[in-house]
């Protein structure tokens, strides 16, 4: 649980204050680590990027800026039209699962005791549990109406828990075609006007465009990093997939993320030139994780590198299929490009619409990056992806001759499937490949 010293604090973002302290303590510890263990190096880059973002949020909240909780698939760029503190709900749940010693299980328990079914997503349930205890007191929550039932089911609950937590929704059409794009572009445009009314602020186009510039840089850097990953062995360790995933959803349109990627890129280039994997780990198996990494056990990724010679090339949040936005266009066109980008955000792209997108994207990545296998974390709440697993298995087998392992798990709650069982399942699977 979050430390008692915060419990009489009037802050609307108490968990971020704790996260700030954790990040500062983490940096102090990491500075003291001697030698070049790459796992610590990458962790330092990560915390170095997260800490200023969290500090910025805390300072602005203290200065009275409204706090807007947003969904990971929400176009956070439009929040930068305004003076708000943007907090990604799902990123916060999983940041605590990864970083905090206490994890998010106690908040999940609180929500389940309140009545939330056990199979709803821990990504929202963690922060819902914090909201139940008034640790988060959002002024507004902004979400699309997808990519899944859990988004649809969970976000209205925020408003029920605290009446001032208004929820505003962007309706996302099912298809990925011009008609959908036009509809969704107007949704986004209208949303900006609604936000302006709600917040009582005039939209600042310059700040919005600056946010897009940062995100464009993030996309470009990530692409460059992903190109390097085509090398065998992969010049980045598996832990990077997990850290990148949370970084991508936690810090959309932020400069801190670009700084993280720049450092990561330099690090990757070093190993690319050397033609080795970091820490001189052996690469026996290259794996794609079409869904998510296991956030409650972040060290497992490092374990796979060191002890099993397995590289996690990607999870769903590590690869952008969307392009940077061309800012040399009028504002209407920029909104349209943003809408197109949003429809192609990681996981939104694969889970919102027809199954073929997930199948095609996974086959593409597996082929391009010479994956030897796929490991699918069958996250208990991903009901829309679960029926795709078998289709994916058959596509990978038929098109590339590679196998897929599906593991039942809750990526944020260690109790749903014990880690020991997961490790055994993966090891048994890997034995068939060695």
């Amino acid at each position: 649980m979050i430390e008692n010293k915060y419990l009489n604090d009037n802050s609307k973002i108490i968990p971020l204050k704790e996260l700030m302290e954790v990040a500062e303590r983490g940096l102090t510890l990491l500075d003291q680590v001697e030698g070049e263990d790459d796992e610590y190096t990458i962790l330092k880059y990560y915390v170095d990027a997260l800490a200023p973002y969290v500090k910025d949020c805390v300072e602005k909240e203290e200065a009275g800026w409204p706090v807007v909780g947003h969904h990971f698939a929400f176009p956070a760029e439009i929040l930068y039209f305004f003076d708000v503190v943007p907090v990604c709900v799902e990123a916060m749940s999983y940041a605590f699962a990864i970083i905090a010693q206490h994890g998010i299980e106690s908040y999940i328990d609180n929500m389940e005791a309140y009545g939330s079914p056990f199979h709803t997503c821990s990504a929202q349930k963690g922060v819902l549990g914090m909201s139940l205890e008034k640790l988060f007191k959002f002024d507004l929550l902004a979400t699309p109406s997808g990519p899944c039932d859990n988004t649809i089911a969970s976000y209205p609950v925020f408003q029920y828990l605290q009446e001032q937590q208004k929820v505003k929704v962007l309706d996302v059409p099912y298809y990925r075609n011009d008609r959908s794009l036009d509809y969704f572009t107007v949704e986004i445009t209208n949303f900006v006007d609604e936000l302006a009314d709600f917040l009582g602020q005039e939209p600042n186009e310059e700040k919005f465009k600056k946010a897009i510039e940062y995100e464009n840089k993030n996309i470009t850097l990530l692409r460059e990093l992903n190109e390097l990953k085509k090398a065998c062995p992969c010049p980045v360790g598996s832990g990077v997939a997990l850290l990148n995933a949370t970084m991508n959803v936690a810090l959309p349109a932020r400069q801190e993320r670009a700084i993280y990627y720049e450092k990561l890129l330099q690090y990757a280039k070093k190993y690319y030139k050397l033609g080795i994997k970091p820490n001189d780990n052996e690469e026996k198996i290259r794996s794609i994780w079409p869904n998510m990494c296991i956030y409650f056990k972040p060290k497992y990724a490092n374990f796979l590198d060191r002890r099993r010679g397995v590289t996690i090339l990607f999870d769903v949040f590590n690869y952008n299929f969307h392009d940077p936005i061309n800012l040399n266009k009028d504002i209407d066109d920029i909104f349209k490009q943003l809408a197109l980008q949003c429809l192609n955000y990681p996981m939104a792209r694969q889970a919102s619409g027809y199954a073929n997108q997930m199948v095609e994207d996974t086959v593409f990545l597996s082929r391009e990056y010479k994956a030897d296998c796929a490991i699918f974390t069958n996250h208990i709440s991903c009901k829309s992806l679960q029926p795709i697993v078998q289709l994916l298995r058959e596509a990978l087998r038929d098109e590339l001759g590679i196998p897929l392992l599906s593991i039942d798990v809750d990526v944020g709650d260690k109790r749903v499937n014990p880690f020991r069982t997961i490790k055994k399942e993966v090891d048994t699977f890997l034995k068939t490949l060695f």
């Binding site: 309706d171 009901k383 029926p387 795709i388 289709l391």
Partner: protein
Amino acid sequence: MTFDELMKTTETLSNPYIDEWKKQGKKVMGYYCTYTPEEILLAGDVMGYRMRGTEAEGTSLADTIMTRFNCSFIRATLDLIMSGKYSFLDGLVCQNSCDHARRIYDIFNYKILGQMEGFPKDYPLFFLSIPHLVTERGEQWLKDEFGIFKTNLENAINVKISDEKLNNSIKLLNENRRLLKEIHKLRVIEKPKLNGADMLKINIANAAVPKSIVNQELKNYFDQLKNKEGISDYRARILLIGSVIDDPSFLNIIEGVGGLVVSDMLCYGTRNYWDLTDEGTSDPMGAIAKRYNEKISCPRMMNRHGNRSKFLNDLIKEAKVDGVIATRIEFCDTHGCDNMIFEHELEEANVPILSLDRDYFLGDTGRFKTRCEAFIEQIE
């Protein structure tokens, strides 16, 4: 047709009325969700058939594709499809009703069409994208979406659907909905004329028999029902809410221990027939879109919990309910969270509520019976 014959149609998937309909060269198309514009199907002389899990004995075939975390109702229907029990259908309309239901469309494309007997590659398979918000823009999207569906249907069955046909089908369906509502009114009185299990059977049969036939039967039944002696030997008046129920034996459990289900907010219930479509307009497609946009929603509509809450409270008052049973099929996230909010709201309003999670296949009837009995003892 007699009323008993109508009720018998709930025991099997197909029935003699479907056989007769098809003998006339007409089509029958399945659909999962009450957001399917039946008016359009009917205007094309297509009988809409609401998908059910009746006759399902398990999900072993469906489980080769779907997982244990997917809705057992959807898996039951998929199992029936894969075992050929739905071979009488001439097409299927799918939607983004929920994460489980929408994958039926993908499974058809990947595993069924052109691969299983009775389902050729050009089998009429449709998908409708229904907005998740009730808004003016959403209504326009719906109108356009229904327009595309109409065109695709016309091409699939080689029939032209005119505005006149649409207006006629609107009238027929409205008549159907009015009749169901009239029968509903005979449930909510002090001595209800029929129990919940029978009302559910009526709703199930209603979705499995051509409307022109079922309307006549409903009229006859209503006339008889008015004069029937009402039910007085019950212990508590219950309102049932939640996800799909297509099996009257679940209500038999509640009613077997003294509860009488006098009202409901179910999709095989009031959510299906409560709202009418504007009749005789010059824009029947617009009228249809308006009806489906504004009708009593299920939790897939993110901005309508307030409306559902108000509707629920109105139903509670109307039927002078002693308690509410909120049920859902396990792994339903949307009803799970919606029921959770209802639970808290009703507790605040001092309305007793019992939450029951169940698998589609009612294996643990003993547990349900005990819980229902305890609840009824508490509230009688």
